[in-house]
Amino acid sequence: MNDDDVDDRFGAFTLDELSDYLDSGRDPVRDDIESDAAARAALVRLGELRAASSELLDADVRAADGADEGWIAGVLASIRTTAHAGRDIPVPDDDPSSTLVVTEGAIRGLVRALGDTLPGVLVRRTRFTGDLSVPGGPVDVEVAIVVDPAAPIRSRADELRTIVAAALAEHAPFEVRSLTVRVADLLAPGRNQ
């Protein structure tokens, strides 16, 4: 490497070595570096710069002061037209000349909308396991939810099971072999936007 010009040393060590040592959290302790006064002074300096570096983006965001709203609005406007539809699920139908499908995304949207109506509950994810390509085939459904820790978690989960089971019985083009509700996370009010 032709980078002789950057091979400046602080005591016996290069900037590269000292930065890596700092990145390691100075653990394990390297006595050879710690006992070198010039190297130690450089480490202090690098530590200060590291702190300033980690502040840099936050300072930029504060300085931007809402200037992000424009591009964010543009992005969100264009993604509403490209939903994640998932797989097509055929709807059982006696007429061989027609094909009717419902997307996984539509059924997920249904489960999400139902779950969100329960107080203290938000739906996190709905998964379908099974051969969705067979009309009316057996499918295992798992609904992962996020619950307000102040809500009665057990009864909310039971309520959700009941309303989701009823809705799938009516609208899903498959046979629900099993329906599992999993509490995957807790809501944390006060989390930043």
């Binding site: 980078d3 450089a42 931007a64 994640h84 995304g105 996020v146 930043n192």
Partner: protein
């Protein structure tokens, strides 16, 4: 007695507490939950995620690019759209911040490459635009001073420095993202670090 059918009633509040369908309630969700909801097709959850990290992604892209504000806007918009398309491929939903930063960096690096068809490793430092760095150092807060120093690094050095010192990317990740050899990454980073250290000398 009035016919009860014709009495207007206030809807009774649900005794079990308020429901959580409002977008503001989505902001109570963890990163991981927002990722999974987005992957299920909920654009509102993705919106919360982008409000949470978009400004930082844009700042990160802007620091990699150094200058040209419109470029950072374009880079972060493209990055966000790509993130939505690929949100169902996130392997560690709780670490989505790192994933988003990586996409933002890639979009910024694409633009940097267009500036220099071969990320110009030997580029001389560009003349600082209007004021000497010393003056910047003397008159601004340390973070602002650092921002000025970093901004004036040559493109490749700056990109590598930002990926490492702000993005926390490993040498191997930087090499992969930039297409540079590991040795070049080390060399660029060493030069950038030395310049930063020297020019920040006044801030003790």
């Amino acid at each position: 007695m009035p016919n009860p059918e014709f009495v207007t009633r206030e809807p009774k509040p649900d005794p079990r507490g308020p429901t959580l369908t409002e977008d503001t309630q989505l902001s109570f969700l963890s990163d991981g939950s927002l990722v999974e909801r987005s992957a299920d097709g909920d654009a509102a959850a993705f919106g919360v995620l982008i409000h949470r990290y978009g400004p930082l992604m844009r700042a990160y892209a802007a620091r990699i690019l150094g200058h040209g504000d419109g470029e950072a806007d374009d880079a972060v918009q493209e990055a966000s759209l790509l993130a939505w398309q690929r949100i169902d491929t996130v392997e560690e939903p709780d670490r989505v911040r790192t994933w988003l930063f990586r996409i933002a960096a890639n979009k910024a690096l694409d633009r940097l490459r267009r500036r220099h068809p071969h990320l110009d490793l030997e580029a001389l430092p560009e003349a600082s635009e209007d004021r000497p760095v010393d003056e910047v150092v003397a008159t601004r807060m340390q973070v602002d001073a650092l921002a000025g120093v970093v901004q004036n690094l040559p493109d490749a050095q700056r990109a590598v420095w930002v990926l490492r010192e702000i993005g926390g990317a490993s040498y191997a990740e930087i090499a992969e993202q930039t297409g540079l050899s590991a040795a070049s990454v080390r060399g660029l980073l060493a030069r950038a670090r030395r310049t930063v250290l020297e020019q920040m000398e006044g801030w003790r």
